[in-house]
């Protein structure tokens, strides 16, 4: 068991592990609905919107550690905008996301450029790829709090979310508040993404949303099992990737994504239908 106890004997690895497992499981749970609704691209789009929000925070002279408090309303606003455009039916999800995504990313770059020359130096790489090994105890509390709240919302709306994901019209006829759930799902995804970006980075968060859900969708024969499997894969990918990156002494974010990718291809091979 040394392979497990050795890395976890250190505080920063313990925090990274807890944070990775929470973020991995949570992103996968919300990802099931995002992917089944054909909105896979939204994970990416909102992560880039979060980048714009973080940059806005930095421009407003908020420190890197607190910039997610600016990114949070910014990203939720973008998510609600996408939901509104989607519901109006005038644009497809990919188009809506593509527009919001590139505009908010460009805004982010612009905001960073507008900062005064004497502003503290920020590592763009840290924002893009995260720094899961540098998770502070405060970060961890925020992640744990968001996980608990999001899990409660997802569990409370799960059966109706699943119904409206299957078919909006049929669900609405059965009395499901379809519009409210559309906005709730996107706003919740935005919140989860901002909190996750802070710890695992813009690039990793969209893989957490899409890959476990897509892999589970290939194998699972019911929505319940699909959700359970996606969460398991997200947790296993985060945990396994971290341990592997420790022993191989390679970048943790990249290792986690590659691990998730390997699971996806395995699912593709054993998919029965």
């Amino acid at each position: 068991m040394d392979w497990l106890t050795e890395p976890l004997s250190q505080g920063f690895m313990q925090r990274a592990m807890i944070c990775g497992v929470l973020v991995g499981g949570l992103c996968a749970a919300v990802g099931v609905f995002v992917v089944q609704r054909g909105l896979s691209f939204i994970g990416d789009g909102l992560a880039h919107a979060a980048f714009g929000g973080i940059a806005l925070g930095l421009l407003l002279d908020v420190s890197v550690d607190h910039s997610h408090w600016v990114a949070l309303p910014f990203t939720v606003f973008v998510a609600l905008g996408i939901a509104f455009v989607l519901r109006s039916g005038r644009l497809g999800g990919d188009v809506a996301t593509g527009v919001f995504f590139s505009v908010s990313f460009a805004l982010g770059v612009l905001f960073l450029g507008l900062r005064p020359p004497d502003a503290p130096i920020v590592s763009i790489e840290t924002i893009l790829f995260g720094s899961i090994l540098a998770v502070s105890p405060t970060d961890l509390y925020v992640v744990a709090g968001v996980t608990a709240a999001s899990a409660a919302i997802l569990l409370g709306t799960w059966t109706r979310l699943a119904y409206s994901t299957f078919d909006k019209d049929l669900a609405q006829l059965s009395g499901v508040p379809v519009a409210l759930l559309d906005y709730t799902l996107l706003a919740l995804t935005a919140v989860i993404i901002v909190v996750s970006v802070k710890t695992v980075g813009v690039v990793l968060v969209s893989s957490f949303i899409v890959i476990p859900a897509a892999a589970a969708g290939l194998i699972a024969r019911s929505v319940v099992r699909m959700t359970a499997l996606a969460v398991t894969l997200g947790i296993a990918g985060a945990g396994g990737g971290l341990i592997a990156s420790f022993h191989l002494d390679v970048a943790s974010g990249a290792t986690i994504i590659l691990g998730l990718g390997a699971m996806f291809f395995f699912a593709l091979i054993i998919a029965r239908r």
């Binding site: 089944q36 799960w158 059966t159 109706r160 699943a162 119904y163 994901t165 299957f166 078919d167 019209d169 049929l170 609405q172 006829l173 059965s174 009395g175 499901v176 969708g217 699972a220 024969r221 019911s222 929505v223 319940v224 099992r225 699909m226 239908r273």
Partner: protein, 265 residues
């Protein structure tokens, strides 16, 4: 009733129990008038075919009836109520809209309509209702099957069972046989007709294939943004003007369908 509506033999409102009625429904998108003063009604147990070319406003009309879209003017009344719900209307959507990748079984699909939420698992009481509904559409063998693995005809039966499970007084089917082979179509329409008769269900079947349903429908309503004609199938099939009303290519197709249907009768 607005411009140029031809009303043939229609049900007698005094003698019949009216299950479904729309009055003066109008809807425009920008300058485009999609529905213009549409009014008609269906008595208990009547099987009505709503026909019209593509772009005639059939889908918009259905959305308004189902409460998914608001009309600019007019009212919808189903069994005395103004707002559709799954207890009042059994709705079978167009097949191309079904979410084929969603990992769902037939019994979950049907139980979801009973419960108003997606079931984590199907309860014993629901199982009985689901089995009954499947039996009525000749689809008992579909219990336990994944939706993704069903053929076009099986999928239609599963969705029809889903619509019937709440015992609604009105059934609405949107192009239910599109993408189903010819023998499957006739069989499906026959099952539908039998159920409509035995349960005294009012039914609206939306189709641009008049010929296909003219044999079974008791009443036909031809919609082209407004009610062009409403009456018995034979009366509409004899309405030669219908085919050339707009003089467009779709009318020509409709014309050939009329001939085809007449030969069949």
């Amino acid at each position: 009733m607005s411009r140029g509506s031809k009303i043939y033999t229609i049900p007698d409102r005094e003698k019949e129990e009216i299950v479904f009625e729309v009055a003066n429904i109008s809807k425009r998108f920008g300058d485009h008038v999609v529905l213009d003063d549409v009014s008609f009604f269906i008595p208990k147990g009547e099987f009505l075919c709503l026909c019209g070319p593509n772009g005639a406003g059939k889908s918009t009309f259905l959305k308004i009836v189902l409460g998914l879209l608001d009309a600019d003017t007019g009212t919808v009344e189903i069994h005395g109520q103004r707002r559709a719900n799954s207890k009042l209307v059994g709705y079978v959507p167009q097949r191309k809209r079904f979410h084929r990748d969603f990992p769902a079984r037939v019994e979950e699909l049907i139980a979801a309509n009973l419960r108003g939420k997606w079931p984590l698992r199907v309860r014993a009481a629901e199982k009985k209702a689901v089995e009954e509904a499947l039996e009525r559409v000749g689809g008992s063998h579909l219990y336990g099957k994944m939706l993704a693995g069903l053929s076009g005809g099986e999928m239609q039966r599963a969705f029809l069972a889903r619509a019937l499970v709440t015992h609604p007084p009105l059934l609405i089917l949107d192009e239910p046989t599109a993408g189903v082979d010819v023998s499957g179509r006739e069989e499906f329409i026959e099952i539908l007709y039998q159920i409509s008769k035995s349960d005294e269900l009012a039914a609206i079947l939306v189709s641009h294939h008049l010929g296909e349903v003219a044999k079974t429908a008791e009443r036909v309503l031809y919609l082209q943004n407004h009610v062009v004609a409403w009456g018995l199938p034979d009366e509409l099939l004899g309405h030669e003007d219908l085919a050339v009303l707009k003089g467009d290519i779709r009318s020509t197709r409709y014309d050939s369908e009329i001939r085809h249907a007449k030969e069949k009768r």
